[in-house]
């Protein structure tokens, strides 16, 4: 009998194409997602060396980081010249190398990590990579998914493999039920608050427990999306009926007898009883509150009921970092988080740009108006999410409340397109990073769930959403 394996062990073992004596492996890659920012140098490298894309049918490209999200983009011209050149380079490379492509003009275009699952490219047990750290999102399907650099993008394009050594196994268990107003975003932020942004370094995390099982695929994607913010190479959730139900019938999911064969294999993808984890973290679902970040690292997380911390309460290098963060954020130690006034609200990103996220925000906003002077925008994660939200009447709720209703893209999550914070502006954002300058030079970001973002839009301050439900 073989030793019990974790889910990660099983997926890893199923993808080793070659192993050196020292344990360095060539890991076969089932799906390679590509966007316009981290790929031009890789395609250029192939061209210079006279190489082809080894498996164009397993390569999926979509422009997302640079694309404008305003309605006038349908005219097809991107005003910023550098952005336009990057998107045009992807157009050209996708055509020249024959990879699957969703151009800006395609209704299915959107954030690569939303398009992949939506189109059924992401399936349980796969290896998925992309030149983007939030590739961790796809781990929600029980796929081993992680970000890579551009040199590795070129390597995968040329060889369909990655040179890898195995990470260690970490288990993050969320027991029990979540309380009302608490969402997947609060889970994932609370975990990072517990472990720190380097707590997962060297590990692949498997999220498990009742609170994780109870999540929809959208919620699971939110949780895994931010595994990278905890430092982990990847986050995983074992596939189950929720997963199979989501996958079935998607354009690129297997059909008929192939689906049955795939399902039989997918059902073997779980951590065996007694398998070894090198690190275990457990949180009680019922103890997680709606959370918000106060600083400039995703680990700067506190329940909304808390106050801005005293930097001296930290240890080591974190004391200086906390002082710097509080100054950058324009806050004072001891200030109540619910007293922090915001002027911008951003709902979107690969973390929270899916239909369920928009439903959660709309639920809070229904029949209400946002606070005067607040700039609020919703950027759906894909053209199809946008279409569905319009069909469900969510777009009307957002617009009647005073939100801008945009086209799909990464938008203000990293502000490579015109959607940016001005100097000193403060944003309640459903994105994933609150780094200095992330949403615009000297912009200030508070990471929250979609429901919390909606609540902040209504009151003009960081707000405990539980008071509004």
């Amino acid at each position: 009998m073989t030793a019990p394996k974790t889910l990660y062990d099983k997926i890893w073992d199923a993808h080793v194409a070659h192993e050196q004596e020292d344990g360095t492996c060539l890991l076969y890659i089932d799906r390679h997602l590509v966007h316009e920012v981290t790929s031009p140098q890789a395609f250029e490298g192939l061209r210079m060396a006279g190489r082809k894309v080894r498996a164009p049918e397993k390569t999926i490209a979509v422009p997302d980081h640079n694309v404008p999200t305003t309605l006038d983009r349908v005219s097809g011209v991107i005003a910023n010249e550098e952005s336009r050149i990057q998107v045009e380079a992807l157009d050209k490379n996708a055509k020249e190398f024959g990879v699957n492509y969703y151009p800006v003009s395609d209704v299915r275009q959107g954030i690569v990590h939303i398009v992949g699952p939506e189109q059924g490219w992401t399936l349980p047990g796969m290896t998925v990579v992309c030149g983007d750290s939030h590739t961790a999102t796809h781990g929600a399907f029980g796929a081993l998914a992680h970000g890579i650099g551009t040199s590795e993008v070129e390597h995968v394009l040329a060889t369909q493999t990655l040179i890898q050594k195995k990470s260690k196994n970490m288990k993050v268990e969320i027991t029990g039920k979540l309380r009302p107003g608490v969402t997947a975003k609060d889970i994932t932020l609370a975990v990072i608050g517990e472990t720190g942004t380097a707590g997962g370094t060297g590990y692949v995390i498997e999220y498990c427990g009742e609170a994780i099982r109870d999540l929809s695929m959208e919620g699971r994607m939110t949780v895994c999306n931010m595994a990278i913010e905890g430092g982990a190479r990847a986050g995983l959730i074992a596939p189950d009926e929720t997963t199979f139900e989501y996958v079935k019938g998607r354009p690129h999911a297997p059909k008929g007898a192939q689906f049955e064969a795939a399902l039989a294999w997918w059902k073997t993808l779980y951590t065996d009883e007694g398998a070894h984890f090198d690190k275990v973290v457990t949180l009680k679902g019922e103890e997680i509150e709606p959370v918000v970040t106060w600083g400039t690292s995703p680990e700067d997380v506190l329940p909304i009921s808390a106050v801005v911390p005293d930097p001296e309460s930290f240890k080591g290098g974190k004391v200086e970092a906390a002082k710097r963060a509080i100054e950058y954020m324009g806050l004072k130690a001891g200030q109540k988080l619910t007293d922090i006034e915001i002027d911008t609200v951003f709902i979107g990103s690969c973390t929270n740009g899916r239909i369920e996220d928009l439903r959660a925000a709309a639920e809070i906003l229904k029949g209400k108006k946002i606070k005067d002077g607040v700039r609020a925008m919703v950027v759906p994660g894909s053209g199809l999410v946008r279409a569905q939200a319009e069909e469900e009447g969510l777009a009307d709720i957002f617009q009647e409340a005073g939100f801008e209703w945009r086209l799909a893209g990464c938008s203000m999550c990293l502000a490579m397109n015109p959607d940016q914070l001005a100097e000193g502006e403060r944003c309640a954002s459903t994105s994933n990073r609150n780094f200095e300058g992330r949403q615009g030079y000297k912009g200030r970001t508070h990471l929250v769930s979609p429901a919390m973002a909606a609540a902040a839009a209504l009151t003009g301050k960081l707000t405990d959403v539980r008071e509004l439900i």
């Binding site: 920012v37 190489r51 040199s151 192939q258």
Partner: protein, 201 residues
């Protein structure tokens, strides 16, 4: 890629923890379709004001650190995005080695693809190296990858660990794709097997 030789140079201290990739190279510089020329924008928002003037207090603007080849940094260096523009900018500036208590995973891997050696050391050793770096340009550190030793300006030696294969590739300046192509038969065989076992992929 150039071979990584024995390094003897100035080390710049950056004790801040969680220096992220947005700090290393802000997103406005990700719009390039080239790998080169990013050194001038390394740490851009910390290094220049809005008018493009140097901020004198920033370590790499100080006369003694302008030619630094080594960076001694706080914990969790390079966290955040997968942008290889971060190591491209570091390498283009002329820095060939970064020493910290930990690195973010993707950044760590990206360094090796660009001739940069990231060295993980325990906190007490980083403290000693940070203090040595604080001494400025008269204090030169030595990084000997072959023998896996960092030597301070005062001759204190600290051994470090590095993956044997990554070390070999760095020392020899090897191209990853070329190396992998030597095993292309195994990739072919894997694909053939999977087309039977998991044809839906």
């Amino acid at each position: 890629m150039d071979k990584f030789g024995k390094l003897h140079g100035i080390a710049a201290p950056m004790p801040l923890v969680n220096i992220d990739t947005d700090m290393i190279i802000p997103k406005v510089f990700l719009k390039t379709i080239k790998r080169s020329g990013l050194g001038v924008n390394l740490f851009d928002e910390m290094r220049y004001d809005r008018q493009g003037n140097e901020i004198p207090d920033f370590v790499l603007n100080k006369p003694q650190y302008r030619d630094a080849q080594i960076l001694v940094a706080g914990d969790n260096f390079g966290c955040g995005s997968s942008r290889e523009h971060a190591p491209w900018a570091i390498a283009d500036f002329g820095i060939k080695c970064v020493i910290s208590t930990s690195f973010a995973d993707i950044f760590y891997n990206n360094c090796f693809k660009n001739g940069i050696l990231p060295i993980v050391m325990p906190q007490d050793v980083v403290d000693v190296l940070m203090a040595d770096a604080e001494k400025g340009s008269n204090a030169r550190m030595t990084v000997d990858l072959e023998n896996q030793v960092v030597t301070t300006s005062e001759g204190q030696e600290f051994p470090f660990e590095v993956d044997a294969f990554k070390k070999h590739c760095l020392l020899e300046g090897l191209d990853d794709i070329g190396l992998t192509m030597a095993n292309v038969e195994d990739i072919d065989a894997y694909e053939a097997k999977m087309s039977q076992e998991r044809p839906w992929i």
